[in-house]
């Protein structure tokens, strides 16, 4: 039951993502977190021992780690959350196999329609489990694997075990440990050498229940000379109590490979979104993170690229939009571990109605990584005096022969710009929307058409009701 939506409506903050599906859970673990619950999740999934042990060890690590002292204010009662909720008995291969009410949910979100038009494969996750999965037949025939990660544990253990938890070990941070203990769902992708997937593979993550934790785990392996574009979308309805989304995403891009990972998330205001994303890029490969962060109560997310071999490139483009009651602590991490590697970070944030955006970024060049180049640009736009923006750039360079550029700007929507546009017949709201869309344009134009349209539409939704 979504509560108090009327007031939110008046503020124009509510949108088409705010609906609750009355669903019939197949299984819901008890509230709270302990070794029994973790073991139960593993048992429900009929996992091998190694995975159960990995989970239990991770739980211990989670319990031993303090909360991060930086970023945002995390007020989560970990015993007040449901860690596992199974919404359906089996994963559907066609939408008709998916329980009607869940299918309706994804219909409303436009997933089956997008699938028909421009996607090479889809995974739809509802609460803890992937309820629908598809992949174009010819891609399957070429050896592409696109399954949920649980299935991969059972069916592709030889590939999965080589990488799982290796890029982001449970010891990395408290929330990576939590995810490692209770993870469920997420995507597993393997693209064999030389295979280039023209259309995006998309996953959609939907939290529906109150006080729910969603902990998907994604692993992408792009083999030599292969290419993939993976897209994830995330939403949840509005509740009065907090829910937690804490994913771990590991990506490996081998020699000459390319991976683009696009996220468009539009969480409700009560979601803590604490995500760890990291990629290792090998010789002459390219890893791109495109990250659109809208909504959530607090987002802490810093997609990272480790450039492991010469010629590797990392690009991170991010947009954060924070409004009333929202704090986006987002950024990027690039680590140059080999010579002649290149990175580029463009971050744009918009704060309005008392929202707070922070850019937190790290650029690190290791000793011996000669001839590296890194370019960081972060721009913040603040729409009103109640809103706030901060920049925390960290630069650690242990090598002389490098070229590092960092630019940051903070601007406020100028009265003069507004007046100029209004003097040509635009309303104040249209004028500020236009200034905002101009501000993010350099990023939007990097997106494929469909996602650019989606992103613009989401920003417009956020801008509605921003004036008066």
């Amino acid at each position: 039951m979504a509560t108090d939506v009327t007031e939110e409506n008046a503020l124009g903050e509510i949108n088409k993502y705010d609906f609750v599906t009355p669903s019939h859970d197949v299984f819901k673990a008890e509230k709270g977190l302990n070794a029994d619950i973790v073991a139960q999740i593993s048992e429900m999934k009929r996992e091998p021992d190694w995975m159960r042990d990995f989970r239990l060890d991770s739980l211990k690590i989670f319990e031993s780690k303090p909360m991060p002292k930086w970023g945002g204010n995390i007020a989560i009662n970990f015993q007040d959350i449901y860690y596992y909720l199974k919404p359906a008995n089996e994963q559907g291969r066609t939408w008709d196999d998916v329980p009607q009410e869940i299918k309706d949910t994804f219909d409303k979100l436009g997933i089956p329609e997008a699938e028909k038009k421009y996607l090479a494969g889809v995974k739809a996750q509802f609460e803890s489990e992937v309820v629908y999965g598809s992949l174009q037949e010819d891609l399957g025939n070429q050896g592409v694997l696109f399954t949920d990660t649980d299935t991969a544990v059972r069916e592709h253990p030889e590939i999965l075990r080589e990488y799982f938890g290796k890029i982001i070990p449970p010891t990395d941070n408290k929330f990576a440990a939590l995810n490692s203990a209770v993870w469920s769902g997420g995507s597993f992708i393997y693209v064999p050498p030389g295979v280039k997937i023209d259309f995006p593979l998309q996953a959609y993550f939907r939290i529906n229940a109150e006080q729910m934790g969603q902990f998907e785990r994604t692993l992408i392996i792009v083999d030599e000379g292969a290419e993939v574009h993976y897209v994830e979308g995330c939403t949840a309805p509005m509740y009065t109590t907090e829910s937690l989304h804490s994913a771990v995403v590991e990506v490996i891009v081998k020699k000459n490979g390319r991976c683009r990972y696009t996220t468009i998330q539009n969480w409700a205001n009560n979601i803590y979104n604490l995500v760890t994303k990291r990629a290792m890029a090998y010789e002459n490969s390219l890893m791109e993170w495109i990250d659109g962060n809208l909504g959530s109560h607090l987002t802490m997310k810093y997609p990272a690229v480790y450039m492991m071999e010469p010629g590797a490139r990392g690009e991170i483009l991010s947009i954060a939009f924070s409004s009333k009651g929202q704090h986006q602590d987002a950024g990027a991490k690039v680590v140059h571990c080999a010579p002649n590697t290149k990175s580029r970070i463009i971050s744009k944030s918009i704060s309005k109605n008392g929202g707070r955006s922070s850019y937190r970024g790290l650029c690190k060049v290791e000793d011996g990584a000669t001839g590296c180049k890194s370019n960081v640009v972060c721009d913040a736009l603040i729409l009103d005096p109640d809103s706030r923006s901060d920049t925390y750039p960290y630069i650690e360079v242990e090598e002389q022969d490098v070229q590092i550029e960092h630019e940051a700007s903070v601007s406020r929507i100028g009265e003069e710009q507004l007046f100029y546009l209004m003097s040509r017949g635009l309303t104040e709201a249209e004028a500020s929307s236009m200034i905002v869309s101009g501000f993010i344009e350099p990023l939007i134009k990097e997106l494929p058409m469909e996602y650019a349209v989606e992103m613009n539409r989401l920003i417009e939704l956020q801008m509605e009701g921003s004036v008066g």
Partner: protein, 272 residues
């Protein structure tokens, strides 16, 4: 009844500092007026006040359009009612393409009742019209893809302002030093366009320090502003006198306004 923009005893302050000190001016649709005056006398301030800039506070007096008081209206309403100002210094809007902005603006001004989010004028129709107008102003149509005033040269900005006027077809237009920054050929083109769009369709107020725009748009009236007031009104011969002789005669003839001018300049110095 002729359509009229009427300014009566207008006092305007910026950040509490009085700038305009009782301006009277009546422009009928179809008339061309020239407004001249030394730097800092308040010409642009009058333009901003008429256009509805929130930073320009009307402390007393009135601005009316066809008898209706519009001093409380915001810039959006005034623009949709047919008032336009070509800026002396147009604002850059990075990331917003001139064509997209202009399609929005044109739709809104032509359908003053349009609600936010409602349909824009059809793309094809808009493109066709925009291309025609741009060709007329000898502007490369690629220019429409550039971001509004972002990195435009001085002359390009002024051409873009004229282009916007041509698309919006206002009833009353204030051209604030639209001739400055334009090369000789461009001034000629701009003059022609203004004459063409204007004719008897527009009431025009040309703010200028030069004679070029006035050659083809002979003013029916010339006004001289000094110290925040219009102190003298004449015909085209007054304009000719001012840009050849300067303002000494005016200052001598209107000592009170000249004193106000000193005061405004003095305040400026103090503030610095």
């Amino acid at each position: 009844m002729a359509e009229t923009l009427k300014i009566t005893d207008l006092h305007v302050a910026v950040e509490g500092k009085p700038i305009l000190r009782g301006v009277n001016l009546t422009i009928n649709r179809g008339e061309t007026h020239a407004l001249m005056g030394p730097n800092g006398s308040g010409k642009s301030t009058l333009g901003f006040a008429v256009m509805g800039h929130p930073g320009y506070e009307i402390t007393s007096g009135s601005i009316s359009l066809n008898g209706e008081e519009i001093a409380e209206w915001d810039a959006t309403q005034r623009s949709r009612a047919g008032i336009f100002m070509a800026f002396q210094r147009p604002m850059a809007i990075p990331g917003v393409k001139l064509a997209d902005f202009l399609r929005h603006a044109t739709t809104n001004v032509r359908n003053p009742e349009r609600r936010e989010g409602a349909e824009l004028i059809p793309m094809r129709q808009f493109r066709k019209e925009l291309t025609e107008k741009m060709e007329h102003l000898r502007m490369d149509t690629e220019f429409a893809r550039r971001y509004v005033n972002d990195g435009f040269s001085g002359g390009e900005m002024k051409r873009a302002e004229i282009l916007q006027m041509a698309m919006l077809r206002p009833k009353f237009a204030i051209l604030d030093e639209t001739d400055s920054g334009l090369d000789v050929d461009a001034v000629k083109l701009a003059s022609e366009s203004i004459a063409e769009i204007g004719g008897d369709q527009m009431g025009i107020l040309i703010i200028t320090h030069h004679d070029k725009l006035l050659e083809r748009n002979a003013p029916d009236f010339t006004h001289v502003m000094l110290g925040g007031r219009i102190v003298e009104t004449g015909g085209i011969e007054l304009a000719t006198e001012l840009y050849t002789e300067g303002y000494d005669r005016i200052r001598a003839a209107y000592p009170e306004a000249a004193e106000a001018e000193q005061e405004m300049v003095g305040k400026e110095v103090e503030a610095v």
